[in-house]
Symmetry: D3
């Protein structure tokens, strides 16, 4: 049986101030490739899966470099094409202690956002695919992105390809576009087998309110509403994050199954965080890994949380760890130097 | 009498591959501030003049940083305001030997380009100003830029402020906009007292052809046509560049006066060029310096050429040299270590 | 009413070993501009105030660069002049865990220290000024510095300009000079409306002993003595620092008012400190901000403490944060990524 | 018809002193991936060809990184496997002016050198392949390398796959092994359709002497002997290099055809060389490009020389240029900034 | 009385990924010199002792650089000679939070490992020497290393030179060699006056099992067995490390004396570790310092622990601190900035 | 017979702007150790000679680091002591093309300049020494430096130690001190066996004028005067430099012998200079090497010129080349890559 995963979304270039500097404090930026769905693709490739990316990049050296980076990490990039428009960028200023990290999006007019929603041949792209991964970033990029994401999801459902949808609600992008996200997100979540989503993602999609001040942050209520609203949904999972300060978090995870079972984990303490970006994507990739490997939900959730936790120690957007390293953490093999 | 200079144009951020690397060959970029008119402003400030910038930057940390850099070098930035839109960027890959340098513009949708042409109070901005400096980049950015540049020029002419216009023809920007540049450039050149322009700038503005294969590259013909077409024009000057290879040029200059006199200089050999960007702006600033200091045309042209030549040894867009260093080169003080 | 602040003191260049290296462990230094009073000036400029610096720098490229950095951050540097002598330097080796940070002063013979005390035209410099900020570093630099600081304070008092004096007692500098600091500091504190000072500053100025082992570190006693001795003094404030190790502190603050009221704050925990230098100057600037904005003493003290705390996350001497960021910390807006 | 190229050889890690420093002068090294045949593979991939690498790397993070770099640039790495042994390294100290560059090989005991010659399934690897590229480095690595190279060449000849062999004679490697290179190289050259070789390569393979002091450096004689000795040989080509100093060369090329025709080119002057390593591999890749594109020998030789010349401007082992850039140089499109 | 210390062992080059990056994530490595016994030598030299190194390095620029680094820090390197073979390397990837640090040894075939065991003139080398320091790394490098270490120990014993042996058991090296370590280590420990060793070192040497799950990690049992087996042994000491996560440890130490007395210390908390490598060597050097200075065992053990703790704050293999800094930590002089 | 060389002079720290940047253009400096006489010492050590340094450094981490660097390169530093005062610094801005390099001395008040002239025990220091090397920098540092240099020279003459004196006239230092250099330099040159000096050095010492516009730059006249005035003088040598631009020189050398013979060399062309500083010191060291090795004057002069020429390719103050590399250049071994 095929185990191939298809990820659809925008490739971004991340331009980060070095170390703990403020943006442009010194005349240098560190640059790497990111993007929510691309991060999932790279994670899965490094975990040993066959994974392909569908995207559109700028027809210039920046676009080629972004594609090259995905290929370097083992992602099949033959379905990433060049198109009119620029590369989406984001500027990152990593915070410290009490000074929050800042992300300055500069992605308007990107080749991906400008690509025609009809330009993707989904039946061909989905041929031989086991899972399709989408996130809430793509529909927030405008009419083309929304239409393309919906077309992809419908085609996948029709082709028997399972769908993982990561909420990733970005209110600033939706505000920039100026439409009501609810019907679009509702449609996408309706197609999903797995949702990575918190109370806010569900509340927005269902155009309702969920009280986040419940002990569980409103997650049980969100799950209840989600399973009621979305008939294909089997599992809803997310991380829970306590931010002691900017670079010290505690991270746990919870998974709700349509059968009513709920699994939750203890929290990992993560002091001295190296890079917080992409940790949610690492979690989504970990979940997919568990499903592809047919782990129990419990094993899969622990794997996903360990993957997400390890990402906090890796610079850049990508979770550059392999399955053995995650298993080592889960096995409690300790923190001594490996020689 | 006032000697204040006003420069109007876009501030850009330049993102350059380090050393001689290809773009994104390694995961680092060097960043600095530039923009044709800002480069002139910084040059003039370092040459000891009172100079103010009029511009619009993004309302974020990048925009603030760009303004801070101009202020650092002594430019009055009180008339630079923040507006909706992004910062214009350009990616630079410095070439070497036979591999040309590449500039990748990423400036669509910038705060400057999106600023309303009516939002500048030119009479107030020009109060107490001696010279206004504009370039052909601004009108190429779209309807707002073109209208604003023309409004500035007309207000200056009306206020008795002299105008220096640097052709800086960028065909890719005009093509992106999709209008005929001729009437716009014609109007701007009509207001100018001084043009920094070559045969192509004049040919475009006059919607004619000038044969660049004449011994002088068509410059005499261009000057003849320009003085005939533009009644306010007193001087037309430009550099002439022989490119032996990517990092070895020879640079000379020529100036035509309405009275029919022509001044030309011998060429400086410039092997092992450090940074070629901004050398034309350094030339324009040098010319303005000569006019502000009431040098003879001959002295002013030699000063401008020496300024432009020295810029080839300075990394970044700005010509970080002072008047004494330029005078030293003109005096033939030699190349020994200054202790 | 004017809100302009005038800061008087030496600009220093800081030469720091990169990351956590020992000094000269690798052949590279990071360089930035600092100096106690200049740090206050930059903080205030970034908090939105009109602030001017009075100083003397070396007449060379280093001096010009230092002035440019202040201008970059919005400080009016027209009253910083070049003079005979060198730039004061300090070498910094940032410590870690149990290895203390080390500062190696190399400021003897600086242009500032050598400047004639009579060379400042205080009535003109103080024209239109609301507050004068001085610190105990300047009088410690020798007879000229001491005389100039006293002249500035007296002129300010006479002109109705309020005075903020930051004790900043540096015993090594006074020992180098070899005079008794008491009468000089007594005179300066006598002029001050606001003192940023701890028990040692007051004890030295009053040539007395204050037991630091009291529960409050001797602060109440110091305040009592200070209000008795210094008739113009309205407020005395300082931070209290518990150093759990070299890069983990807890920071609180206390303020005493002449009316007998005392305000103290809870402590912020500051693990993984990025840069400890300049945090006291950030506190002084925060206090002045509160006074300029006419905050209550309580609000002002909390603002100053938050400003000082945030400085621990910013590399370099300057507190590169704006008022909104400080307000965010005070409002408990949390540590999540700002997108 | 298939156009796929197969390259067989060792992947190396290059550890270079930064800029013009002596090795370990400062505590930093720049690292990149290289190896003669891998360089050819990357060149061809960037020129748009389908190209696969056959190699063995260390079974560790270094080996994986090397493979990732090839994949990044578009090389099919599915036939690169991990094996027992270390990664081959070389330390590079780039020279300047009169100080020659130095390469310190540290490749003994590498996974590639230790790989069993029988472990490659050549018929399967060569399936669908048009050209096999080998070089004289592989047989110099020891008995396994020599046997594997010969097996590959024989299998290719049998399968109708054409063979390009680059002499790349490294006397230090042969001396380390301690065998007579002549019979091995003779066998390999006997299989080749195209040789990239100079007088020394031919002299060694034929165990004869060729006088390099002839006007053409002994090339005509070498070609005459080669065509006589090697029945399958159709073309012999090489570059000719005049080294004016360490970073200023002049480079030309010559090609001999079995039909007796000889083509030679004028020389490109290459002052201020950025990186001299890998230029011969860039030439070989250019030749193969011409053959794959069915260019005339003259066009192909000029293309190969232009490719090799451009490599001198690119840091690292790989020739990171595309076909358009090479065509631009051949067309004399000039050295101006591309905007 | 002589106080000279002789250290015998291999010099290694350490090639480390910068900051918290994965190996080869970016194309740069930081390089420094290390090696267990060399680390002890440098520590002792910086603590003010006369110390000489006996070793063999590669006969190339890398070997010379390694020797130069030892000399830089005050080690007498006249008995380090160049020999056939390469420099031993190790690649280091520093971990973070839950991601362990990784050391990739690349030292097979080194000049040190290949040096003939008979090539050292121990009587001459030991002339005037007070202590010989060896570690368990040297005998693990193969027959030559083992024979040389044993010869050195026997010659020292004969010459009345006291011997400190640091267990440093590296199972991967012994497995590579493929012999039983027990008789070799037993012989070496039989000669030692001081052992730095934990339960595993002793268990291996005695070919027995020691239960590490005892409250003290099996140390008392190990000491009991060691004193019974090794007649010359006077003291056995080691650190005890609780690894809260990869960069937060707690470190204490214990020392057993043949007279039955046991000394143990409280633990230092070490959050935000800068560099964990070489901390054991810093401990051994601290112990030797105490013995050379004739401190009490208690004072010496505390000194050694403080030295080892401080090493966690210093980048690189060497413990670049002086005795005063260690004394300051022991005196509780606090963590404030030293000005 | 002893071959030991003693060098006496100040150790400086050089703080250089990176690459071709203006000073403080970016917030980073590259730091290395230099000083005219120390440069000679390091050169000689790397050429295989026994060489010791006599100097005084600051009693802090900077002074220790400077000493460590000399020791690293093989110089005996046991006679370098720490004293009151700071480290002398110089800031370097390397020029390019037509922009001259700039050296900003910051050495006033250094520990060396403040050291008591009587604090050196010359008879002991010169014991077993063959040559003493001094330069004109030391006497220019003030009364102590001048007295110490003269005392050293006299003691050497008395002890039969030969003296090499490098003129190194620094007018800015003499002006700062404010005395007439003639009698001091006359006295020093009177003791010298070898002078490295040009027409200006001699003219100053003899308080006369020498026309530099003669074909040989006044050298023959200078030599004639020098041999007449200085009875111990056997040889006077210097380099001649044509500066085509800032980074392209041509360098030749000339040597005059008391016997009337004159030797001159052809010029080396040195385009793309990496580092011009310390090239004169490399020449002096090369001359001393020839004398120590008892080369003919012709061979020695060529060796010295080749050494000086190679220094132009080495970053930093030190000439990090060995004798074999210089011999290779003299032998015309070519510029190919050494593998």
């Amino acid at each position: 049986m095929s185990r191939k995963v298809l990820c659809f979304g925008e490739l971004l270039l991340r331009l980060a101030a070095p170390a703990s500097e403020r943006l442009l404090q010194s005349p240098r930026l560190d640059i790497c490739v990111g993007g929510a769905e691309a991060n999932v693709a790279v994670s899965l490739a490094r975990l040993g899966h066959e994974v392909a990316m569908v995207s559109v990049v700028a027809d210039n050296a920046l676009g080629q470099a972004a594609v090259g980076e995905l290929r370097r990490h083992g992602v099949d990039t033959r379905s990433v094409r060049a198109g009119a428009g620029r590369m989406g960028l984001y500027f990152l200023e990593a915070g410290a202690i009490q000074r929050p990290s800042r992300v300055l999006y500069d992605r308007a007019g990107s080749a991906f956002a400008r690509a025609d929603a009809d330009s993707y041949d989904w039946p061909a792209l989905l041929d031989g695919v086991s899972w399709l991964h989408l996130s809430g970033v793509t529909p927030a990029l405008g009419a083309s992105g929304a239409a393309a994401a919906i077309a992809a999801a419908r085609a996948a459902r029709q082709a028997g390809v399972r769908i993982c949808f990561d909420g990733n609600f970005r209110s600033s992008l939706w505000q920039e576009w100026g439409v009501d996200p609810a019907p679009i997100l509702h449609e996408l979540m309706s197609q999903a087998d797995v949702l990575v989503a918190d109370h806010r993602d569900i509340a927005v999609a269902l155009a309702t309110q969920i009280d986040p001040h419940a002990a569980d942050g409103g997650l049980a209520k969100a799950a209840e509403l989600a399973f009621a609203a979305f008939p294909n949904l089997q599992r809803l999972a997310c991380t829970q994050r306590q931010q002691r300060n900017v670079d010290h978090h505690a991270l746990s995870a919870v998974l709700f199954h349509r059968d009513g079972s709920t699994i939750s984990t203890p929290a990992y303490e993560l002091p001295s965080i190296v890079d917080r970006i992409g940790t949610g994507d690492a979690f989504a990739a970990g979940l997919l890994h568990g499903l592809l490997r047919e782990m129990s939900d419990e094993a899969g959730l622990h794997f996903a949380l360990a993957a997400a936790s390890l990402k906090h120690s890796v610079p850049g957007d990508f979770n550059l760890v392999d399955a053995q390293e995650i298993e080592d953490l889960l096995s409690g093999n300790g923190f001594h130097v490996r020689r």
